[in-house]
Symmetry: C2
Subunit: 233 residues, 2 copies
Protein backbone atom coordinates (compact mmCIF):
# COMPACT_ATOMS: atom_id res chain seq x y z
CA UNK A 1 0.00 0.00 0.00
CA UNK A 2 1.70 3.16 -1.28
CA UNK A 3 1.13 5.60 1.56
CA UNK A 4 1.75 9.31 2.02
CA UNK A 5 2.06 10.35 5.68
CA UNK A 6 0.97 13.77 6.89
CA UNK A 7 3.90 14.61 9.12
CA UNK A 8 4.07 17.71 11.30
CA UNK A 9 7.40 16.75 12.85
CA UNK A 10 5.68 15.95 16.14
CA UNK A 11 6.00 12.79 18.18
CA UNK A 12 2.79 11.26 16.83
CA UNK A 13 3.27 11.75 13.12
CA UNK A 14 7.00 10.94 13.14
CA UNK A 15 6.18 7.67 14.96
CA UNK A 16 3.48 7.05 12.35
CA UNK A 17 5.96 7.61 9.50
CA UNK A 18 8.34 5.07 11.05
CA UNK A 19 5.48 2.62 11.50
CA UNK A 20 4.31 3.00 7.88
CA UNK A 21 7.90 2.64 6.65
CA UNK A 22 8.09 -0.65 8.55
CA UNK A 23 4.67 -2.09 7.61
CA UNK A 24 3.74 -0.54 4.24
CA UNK A 25 5.31 1.31 1.31
CA UNK A 26 6.05 4.82 2.54
CA UNK A 27 6.15 7.02 -0.57
CA UNK A 28 6.48 10.47 0.93
CA UNK A 29 5.82 12.91 3.75
CA UNK A 30 3.65 15.99 3.46
CA UNK A 31 3.90 18.85 5.93
CA UNK A 32 1.97 22.09 6.13
CA UNK A 33 3.17 25.55 6.97
CA UNK A 34 0.03 27.39 8.04
CA UNK A 35 1.83 30.13 9.94
CA UNK A 36 1.97 28.13 13.18
CA UNK A 37 4.24 29.70 15.80
CA UNK A 38 5.83 26.30 16.33
CA UNK A 39 7.12 26.15 12.74
CA UNK A 40 10.25 24.61 14.17
CA UNK A 41 8.41 21.27 14.03
CA UNK A 42 8.78 21.36 10.25
CA UNK A 43 12.55 20.91 10.58
CA UNK A 44 11.89 17.66 12.41
CA UNK A 45 9.59 16.48 9.63
CA UNK A 46 12.36 17.19 7.12
CA UNK A 47 14.82 15.21 9.26
CA UNK A 48 12.35 12.31 9.37
CA UNK A 49 12.01 12.26 5.56
CA UNK A 50 15.81 12.28 5.18
CA UNK A 51 16.17 9.48 7.68
CA UNK A 52 13.54 7.34 5.96
CA UNK A 53 14.77 8.24 2.46
CA UNK A 54 11.49 9.58 1.03
CA UNK A 55 10.47 12.85 -0.67
CA UNK A 56 9.13 15.62 1.54
CA UNK A 57 6.72 18.35 0.51
CA UNK A 58 6.17 21.33 2.78
CA UNK A 59 3.03 22.97 1.44
CA UNK A 60 2.68 26.65 2.16
CA UNK A 61 -0.80 27.21 3.58
CA UNK A 62 0.05 30.58 5.15
CA UNK A 63 -2.40 32.41 2.87
CA UNK A 64 -5.07 30.01 4.17
CA UNK A 65 -3.91 30.36 7.78
CA UNK A 66 -4.39 34.10 7.44
CA UNK A 67 -8.15 33.66 7.04
CA UNK A 68 -8.46 31.16 9.90
CA UNK A 69 -7.99 33.75 12.59
CA UNK A 70 -8.73 33.44 16.26
CA UNK A 71 -6.47 30.52 17.17
CA UNK A 72 -3.54 30.65 19.57
CA UNK A 73 -1.52 28.56 17.15
CA UNK A 74 -1.40 31.26 14.49
CA UNK A 75 -2.32 34.51 16.24
CA UNK A 76 -1.00 36.74 18.97
CA UNK A 77 -3.18 35.06 21.59
CA UNK A 78 -0.99 33.50 24.29
CA UNK A 79 -0.65 29.73 24.31
CA UNK A 80 -2.06 28.66 27.68
CA UNK A 81 -0.21 26.50 30.21
CA UNK A 82 -1.89 23.40 31.59
CA UNK A 83 -3.15 20.01 30.57
CA UNK A 84 -4.16 19.47 26.98
CA UNK A 85 -7.56 18.05 27.89
CA UNK A 86 -8.68 21.21 29.65
CA UNK A 87 -11.23 23.59 28.25
CA UNK A 88 -8.60 26.35 28.19
CA UNK A 89 -6.98 24.54 25.27
CA UNK A 90 -9.93 25.43 23.06
CA UNK A 91 -8.07 28.58 22.01
CA UNK A 92 -5.58 26.30 20.24
CA UNK A 93 -8.24 25.06 17.81
CA UNK A 94 -7.63 26.17 14.21
CA UNK A 95 -11.05 25.75 12.62
CA UNK A 96 -11.12 22.99 10.03
CA UNK A 97 -7.35 22.57 10.05
CA UNK A 98 -7.34 18.79 9.72
CA UNK A 99 -10.04 18.77 7.07
CA UNK A 100 -8.06 21.29 5.00
CA UNK A 101 -4.75 19.44 5.36
CA UNK A 102 -6.39 16.10 4.57
CA UNK A 103 -8.12 17.33 1.40
CA UNK A 104 -4.82 18.72 0.12
CA UNK A 105 -3.03 15.46 0.98
CA UNK A 106 -5.75 13.46 -0.80
CA UNK A 107 -5.37 15.67 -3.88
CA UNK A 108 -1.61 15.04 -3.87
CA UNK A 109 -2.15 11.30 -3.33
CA UNK A 110 -4.61 11.17 -6.25
CA UNK A 111 -2.20 13.08 -8.49
CA UNK A 112 0.69 10.75 -7.57
CA UNK A 113 -1.08 7.42 -7.63
CA UNK A 114 -0.79 6.71 -3.90
CA UNK A 115 -3.23 4.27 -2.30
CA UNK A 116 -3.53 5.87 1.12
CA UNK A 117 -3.01 8.96 3.22
CA UNK A 118 -2.03 8.32 6.83
CA UNK A 119 -2.65 10.73 9.67
CA UNK A 120 -1.72 10.43 13.34
CA UNK A 121 -4.94 11.72 14.89
CA UNK A 122 -5.44 9.96 18.21
CA UNK A 123 -7.84 9.50 21.10
CA UNK A 124 -6.13 12.08 23.32
CA UNK A 125 -7.11 14.80 20.87
CA UNK A 126 -10.80 13.97 20.97
CA UNK A 127 -11.65 16.19 23.92
CA UNK A 128 -11.05 19.46 22.19
CA UNK A 129 -10.50 18.82 18.48
CA UNK A 130 -13.65 17.54 16.74
CA UNK A 131 -11.66 16.88 13.57
CA UNK A 132 -9.59 14.24 15.38
CA UNK A 133 -12.57 12.03 16.30
CA UNK A 134 -13.51 8.75 14.63
CA UNK A 135 -16.86 10.25 13.57
CA UNK A 136 -14.90 12.85 11.63
CA UNK A 137 -12.32 10.54 10.06
CA UNK A 138 -15.05 8.12 8.95
CA UNK A 139 -17.14 10.92 7.44
CA UNK A 140 -14.01 12.29 5.80
CA UNK A 141 -13.13 8.97 4.15
CA UNK A 142 -16.72 8.65 2.88
CA UNK A 143 -16.57 12.16 1.43
CA UNK A 144 -13.27 11.44 -0.35
CA UNK A 145 -14.68 8.29 -1.92
CA UNK A 146 -17.28 10.50 -3.63
CA UNK A 147 -14.89 13.35 -4.43
CA UNK A 148 -12.45 11.14 -6.35
CA UNK A 149 -14.97 8.64 -7.75
CA UNK A 150 -13.73 7.35 -11.10
CA UNK A 151 -10.33 9.08 -10.83
CA UNK A 152 -8.54 7.63 -7.84
CA UNK A 153 -9.08 5.28 -4.93
CA UNK A 154 -7.31 6.69 -1.88
CA UNK A 155 -8.05 5.41 1.60
CA UNK A 156 -7.52 7.12 4.94
CA UNK A 157 -5.22 5.29 7.36
CA UNK A 158 -5.73 6.31 11.01
CA UNK A 159 -4.11 3.58 13.12
CA UNK A 160 -4.12 5.71 16.29
CA UNK A 161 -7.66 7.11 16.16
CA UNK A 162 -8.90 4.75 18.89
CA UNK A 163 -5.64 4.81 20.87
CA UNK A 164 -3.96 7.33 23.13
CA UNK A 165 -0.63 9.11 23.07
CA UNK A 166 0.97 6.62 25.46
CA UNK A 167 0.13 3.86 22.95
CA UNK A 168 1.86 5.92 20.25
CA UNK A 169 4.99 6.19 22.40
CA UNK A 170 4.92 2.42 22.88
CA UNK A 171 4.42 1.77 19.16
CA UNK A 172 6.96 4.43 18.19
CA UNK A 173 9.57 2.82 20.41
CA UNK A 174 8.93 -0.54 18.70
CA UNK A 175 9.70 1.13 15.36
CA UNK A 176 12.89 2.72 16.69
CA UNK A 177 11.51 6.23 16.38
CA UNK A 178 14.18 8.70 17.58
CA UNK A 179 11.88 10.67 19.90
CA UNK A 180 14.52 13.32 20.60
CA UNK A 181 14.17 14.27 16.94
CA UNK A 182 10.50 15.17 17.21
CA UNK A 183 8.92 18.46 18.27
CA UNK A 184 5.70 18.99 20.25
CA UNK A 185 5.84 22.36 22.03
CA UNK A 186 3.29 24.89 20.78
CA UNK A 187 5.49 27.78 21.93
CA UNK A 188 8.33 26.92 19.55
CA UNK A 189 11.24 28.09 21.78
CA UNK A 190 14.80 26.73 21.89
CA UNK A 191 13.71 23.78 24.04
CA UNK A 192 10.30 22.30 24.84
CA UNK A 193 8.70 24.63 27.43
CA UNK A 194 7.24 21.81 29.52
CA UNK A 195 4.19 23.91 30.44
CA UNK A 196 1.95 24.15 27.38
CA UNK A 197 -0.77 21.58 26.76
CA UNK A 198 1.16 19.58 24.25
CA UNK A 199 4.36 19.48 26.38
CA UNK A 200 2.37 18.25 29.38
CA UNK A 201 0.65 15.65 27.24
CA UNK A 202 3.99 14.52 25.77
CA UNK A 203 5.67 14.16 29.14
CA UNK A 204 2.66 12.30 30.55
CA UNK A 205 2.57 9.90 27.58
CA UNK A 206 6.16 8.77 28.17
CA UNK A 207 5.35 8.34 31.86
CA UNK A 208 2.24 6.24 31.13
CA UNK A 209 4.09 4.15 28.53
CA UNK A 210 6.92 3.53 30.99
CA UNK A 211 9.47 4.68 28.43
CA UNK A 212 12.25 7.14 29.14
CA UNK A 213 11.52 10.62 27.77
CA UNK A 214 14.65 11.98 26.04
CA UNK A 215 13.15 15.49 25.72
CA UNK A 216 14.84 18.52 27.28
CA UNK A 217 12.14 20.65 28.99
CA UNK A 218 12.62 24.18 30.35
CA UNK A 219 10.23 23.31 33.19
CA UNK A 220 10.53 19.52 33.54
CA UNK A 221 8.27 19.11 36.59
CA UNK A 222 5.26 21.26 35.66
CA UNK A 223 3.44 18.31 34.08
CA UNK A 224 2.90 16.50 37.39
CA UNK A 225 0.75 19.27 38.85
CA UNK A 226 -1.01 19.96 35.55
CA UNK A 227 -1.94 16.32 35.15
CA UNK A 228 -3.17 16.06 38.72
CA UNK A 229 -5.42 19.10 38.22
CA UNK A 230 -6.99 18.21 34.91
CA UNK A 231 -10.72 17.82 34.62
CA UNK A 232 -11.99 14.29 34.31
CA UNK A 233 -12.52 13.46 30.64
Amino acid sequence: MKTIVICSGGLDSVSLAHMVARDHQLTGLISFDYGQRHRKELDYAALCAQRLGVPHDIIDLRPVGAVLTGSALTDDVNVPDGHYAEDSMRVTVVPNRNAIMLTVAFGAAAARGADAVATAVHGGDHFIYPDCRPAFTEAFAAMQKQALDGYADVSLFTPFVHRNKADIVTEGARCDTPFAQTWSCYKGGADHCGRCGTCVERREAFHLAGIKDPTCYEDPDFWVAATAQKEPA
Copy 2:
Protein backbone atom coordinates in the same frame (compact mmCIF):
# COMPACT_ATOMS: atom_id res chain seq x y z
CA MET B 1 -28.57 33.34 6.87
CA LYS B 2 -25.09 34.89 6.76
CA THR B 3 -23.60 33.32 3.67
CA ILE B 4 -20.13 33.31 2.10
CA VAL B 5 -20.17 32.53 -1.63
CA ILE B 6 -17.29 30.75 -3.32
CA CYS B 7 -16.98 32.87 -6.43
CA SER B 8 -14.63 32.07 -9.31
CA GLY B 9 -15.83 34.98 -11.43
CA GLY B 10 -17.63 32.58 -13.77
CA LEU B 11 -21.22 32.77 -14.92
CA ASP B 12 -22.46 30.23 -12.35
CA SER B 13 -20.89 31.60 -9.20
CA VAL B 14 -21.50 35.27 -10.06
CA SER B 15 -25.18 34.42 -10.66
CA LEU B 16 -25.17 32.59 -7.32
CA ALA B 17 -23.69 35.63 -5.55
CA HIS B 18 -26.45 37.82 -6.98
CA MET B 19 -29.08 35.26 -5.95
CA VAL B 20 -27.72 35.03 -2.38
CA ALA B 21 -27.55 38.85 -2.17
CA ARG B 22 -31.23 38.96 -3.11
CA ASP B 23 -32.50 36.10 -0.91
CA HIS B 24 -30.11 35.89 2.06
CA GLN B 25 -27.43 37.92 3.83
CA LEU B 26 -24.38 37.86 1.58
CA THR B 27 -21.37 38.49 3.85
CA GLY B 28 -18.48 37.98 1.47
CA LEU B 29 -16.98 36.31 -1.58
CA ILE B 30 -14.06 33.91 -1.50
CA SER B 31 -12.00 33.15 -4.60
CA PHE B 32 -9.05 30.85 -5.08
CA ASP B 33 -5.92 31.34 -7.10
CA TYR B 34 -4.64 27.82 -7.70
CA GLY B 35 -2.47 28.69 -10.68
CA GLN B 36 -5.30 28.26 -13.19
CA ARG B 37 -4.43 29.56 -16.65
CA HIS B 38 -7.76 31.38 -16.71
CA ARG B 39 -6.82 33.56 -13.71
CA LYS B 40 -8.55 36.38 -15.51
CA GLU B 41 -11.78 35.07 -13.99
CA LEU B 42 -10.62 36.39 -10.61
CA ASP B 43 -10.96 39.98 -11.86
CA TYR B 44 -14.61 39.28 -12.53
CA ALA B 45 -15.06 37.93 -9.00
CA ALA B 46 -13.54 41.16 -7.66
CA LEU B 47 -15.91 43.21 -9.81
CA CYS B 48 -18.84 41.19 -8.45
CA ALA B 49 -17.82 41.85 -4.84
CA GLN B 50 -17.50 45.57 -5.56
CA ARG B 51 -20.87 45.64 -7.24
CA LEU B 52 -22.58 43.84 -4.34
CA GLY B 53 -20.64 45.80 -1.69
CA VAL B 54 -19.12 42.87 0.19
CA PRO B 55 -15.55 41.91 1.21
CA HIS B 56 -13.60 39.70 -1.18
CA ASP B 57 -10.80 37.31 -0.26
CA ILE B 58 -8.63 35.84 -2.98
CA ILE B 59 -6.83 32.97 -1.29
CA ASP B 60 -3.53 31.97 -2.80
CA LEU B 61 -3.57 28.21 -3.28
CA ARG B 62 -0.76 28.19 -5.86
CA PRO B 63 1.53 26.19 -3.53
CA VAL B 64 -1.27 23.60 -3.34
CA GLY B 65 -1.91 23.73 -7.09
CA ALA B 66 1.75 22.89 -7.62
CA VAL B 67 1.26 19.45 -6.05
CA LEU B 68 -1.98 18.75 -7.95
CA THR B 69 -0.25 18.17 -11.26
CA GLY B 70 -1.64 16.56 -14.38
CA SER B 71 -4.57 18.87 -15.08
CA ALA B 72 -5.01 21.00 -18.19
CA LEU B 73 -6.23 23.84 -15.98
CA THR B 74 -2.89 24.31 -14.27
CA ASP B 75 -0.31 22.56 -16.44
CA ASP B 76 1.12 22.83 -19.93
CA VAL B 77 -1.35 20.27 -21.27
CA ASN B 78 -3.52 21.86 -23.99
CA VAL B 79 -7.10 22.68 -23.09
CA PRO B 80 -9.16 20.59 -25.54
CA ASP B 81 -11.84 21.99 -27.83
CA GLY B 82 -15.28 20.39 -27.82
CA HIS B 83 -18.30 19.89 -25.64
CA TYR B 84 -17.84 19.94 -21.90
CA ALA B 85 -19.63 16.62 -21.38
CA GLU B 86 -17.16 14.67 -23.52
CA ASP B 87 -14.61 12.30 -22.14
CA SER B 88 -11.82 14.49 -23.55
CA MET B 89 -12.65 17.01 -20.83
CA ARG B 90 -11.30 14.66 -18.18
CA VAL B 91 -7.89 16.33 -18.56
CA THR B 92 -9.44 19.45 -17.04
CA VAL B 93 -10.05 17.68 -13.72
CA VAL B 94 -7.93 19.06 -10.87
CA PRO B 95 -8.05 16.23 -8.32
CA ASN B 96 -9.96 17.21 -5.19
CA ARG B 97 -10.17 20.85 -6.17
CA ASN B 98 -13.70 21.42 -4.90
CA ALA B 99 -13.09 19.53 -1.67
CA ILE B 100 -10.01 21.65 -0.96
CA MET B 101 -11.71 24.95 -1.76
CA LEU B 102 -14.76 24.00 0.30
CA THR B 103 -12.77 23.01 3.40
CA VAL B 104 -10.92 26.34 3.27
CA ALA B 105 -14.20 28.23 2.83
CA PHE B 106 -15.73 26.34 5.76
CA GLY B 107 -12.71 27.23 7.91
CA ALA B 108 -13.15 30.89 7.00
CA ALA B 109 -16.90 30.71 7.63
CA ALA B 110 -16.32 29.13 11.06
CA ALA B 111 -13.73 31.79 11.95
CA ARG B 112 -16.08 34.60 10.89
CA GLY B 113 -19.34 33.35 12.30
CA ALA B 114 -21.06 32.74 8.97
CA ASP B 115 -23.98 30.30 8.80
CA ALA B 116 -23.44 28.92 5.32
CA VAL B 117 -21.04 28.49 2.44
CA ALA B 118 -22.64 28.59 -1.00
CA THR B 119 -21.17 26.95 -4.08
CA ALA B 120 -22.47 26.93 -7.66
CA VAL B 121 -21.83 23.28 -8.52
CA HIS B 122 -24.50 22.17 -10.98
CA GLY B 123 -25.87 19.19 -12.86
CA GLY B 124 -23.95 19.93 -16.05
CA ASP B 125 -20.70 19.28 -14.20
CA HIS B 126 -21.71 15.82 -13.03
CA PHE B 127 -20.45 13.96 -16.09
CA ILE B 128 -16.79 14.58 -15.52
CA TYR B 129 -16.31 16.13 -12.09
CA PRO B 130 -17.21 13.73 -9.26
CA ASP B 131 -16.82 16.55 -6.73
CA CYS B 132 -19.76 18.40 -8.28
CA ARG B 133 -22.30 15.58 -7.76
CA PRO B 134 -25.02 15.53 -5.08
CA ALA B 135 -23.45 12.39 -3.55
CA PHE B 136 -20.30 14.44 -2.96
CA THR B 137 -21.94 17.61 -1.67
CA GLU B 138 -24.08 15.58 0.76
CA ALA B 139 -21.07 13.62 2.03
CA PHE B 140 -19.13 16.87 2.30
CA ALA B 141 -21.80 18.56 4.43
CA ALA B 142 -21.93 15.49 6.70
CA MET B 143 -18.14 15.57 7.10
CA GLN B 144 -18.16 19.28 7.99
CA LYS B 145 -20.80 18.74 10.64
CA GLN B 146 -18.36 16.41 12.39
CA ALA B 147 -15.27 18.54 11.73
CA LEU B 148 -16.73 21.66 13.38
CA ASP B 149 -18.85 19.92 16.03
CA GLY B 150 -19.07 22.13 19.10
CA TYR B 151 -17.33 25.10 17.45
CA ALA B 152 -19.47 26.22 14.56
CA ASP B 153 -22.56 25.26 12.62
CA VAL B 154 -21.99 25.98 8.95
CA SER B 155 -24.24 24.54 6.27
CA LEU B 156 -23.52 23.96 2.60
CA PHE B 157 -25.85 25.76 0.20
CA THR B 158 -25.95 24.22 -3.29
CA PRO B 159 -29.08 25.57 -5.00
CA PHE B 160 -27.95 24.46 -8.47
CA VAL B 161 -26.74 20.94 -7.71
CA HIS B 162 -29.84 19.35 -9.27
CA ARG B 163 -30.22 21.93 -12.03
CA ASN B 164 -28.35 22.66 -15.25
CA LYS B 165 -26.47 25.63 -16.59
CA ALA B 166 -29.46 26.86 -18.60
CA ASP B 167 -31.42 27.04 -15.32
CA ILE B 168 -28.59 29.14 -13.87
CA VAL B 169 -28.79 31.55 -16.80
CA THR B 170 -32.55 31.84 -16.24
CA GLU B 171 -32.13 32.40 -12.51
CA GLY B 172 -29.16 34.73 -13.02
CA ALA B 173 -31.22 36.88 -15.39
CA ARG B 174 -33.99 37.13 -12.77
CA CYS B 175 -31.40 38.51 -10.32
CA ASP B 176 -30.10 41.03 -12.86
CA THR B 177 -26.70 39.35 -13.11
CA PRO B 178 -24.57 41.29 -15.63
CA PHE B 179 -23.45 38.23 -17.61
CA ALA B 180 -20.97 40.23 -19.69
CA GLN B 181 -19.04 40.73 -16.46
CA THR B 182 -18.43 37.02 -15.91
CA TRP B 183 -15.67 34.82 -17.32
CA SER B 184 -15.90 31.17 -18.36
CA CYS B 185 -13.16 30.40 -20.94
CA TYR B 186 -10.50 27.96 -19.72
CA LYS B 187 -7.96 29.43 -22.14
CA GLY B 188 -7.96 32.87 -20.54
CA GLY B 189 -7.35 34.91 -23.73
CA ALA B 190 -8.50 38.48 -24.48
CA ASP B 191 -12.01 37.25 -25.38
CA HIS B 192 -13.81 33.97 -24.77
CA CYS B 193 -12.42 31.47 -27.32
CA GLY B 194 -15.78 29.89 -28.07
CA ARG B 195 -14.19 26.47 -28.62
CA CYS B 196 -13.18 25.07 -25.22
CA GLY B 197 -15.61 22.95 -23.21
CA THR B 198 -16.70 25.71 -20.92
CA CYS B 199 -17.24 28.23 -23.75
CA VAL B 200 -19.37 25.70 -25.64
CA GLU B 201 -21.34 24.93 -22.49
CA ARG B 202 -21.84 28.67 -21.80
CA ARG B 203 -23.06 29.44 -25.29
CA GLU B 204 -25.39 26.44 -25.25
CA ALA B 205 -26.84 27.43 -21.86
CA PHE B 206 -27.92 30.86 -23.12
CA HIS B 207 -29.43 29.18 -26.17
CA LEU B 208 -31.39 26.66 -24.08
CA ALA B 209 -32.53 29.37 -21.66
CA GLY B 210 -33.70 31.52 -24.57
CA ILE B 211 -31.73 34.48 -23.23
CA LYS B 212 -29.45 36.65 -25.33
CA ASP B 213 -25.76 35.85 -24.75
CA PRO B 214 -23.81 39.14 -24.40
CA THR B 215 -20.44 37.33 -24.60
CA CYS B 216 -17.91 38.18 -27.33
CA TYR B 217 -16.49 34.88 -28.67
CA GLU B 218 -13.49 34.53 -31.00
CA ASP B 219 -15.26 31.63 -32.71
CA PRO B 220 -18.97 32.30 -32.11
CA ASP B 221 -20.35 29.41 -34.19
CA PHE B 222 -18.18 26.48 -33.04
CA TRP B 223 -20.62 25.52 -30.28
CA VAL B 224 -23.33 24.39 -32.73
CA ALA B 225 -21.20 21.61 -34.21
CA ALA B 226 -19.66 20.68 -30.83
CA THR B 227 -23.08 20.34 -29.24
CA ALA B 228 -24.41 18.25 -32.15
CA GLN B 229 -21.46 15.85 -31.86
CA LYS B 230 -21.43 15.34 -28.10
CA GLU B 231 -21.84 11.87 -26.67
CA PRO B 232 -25.20 11.13 -25.06
CA ALA B 233 -24.93 11.67 -21.29
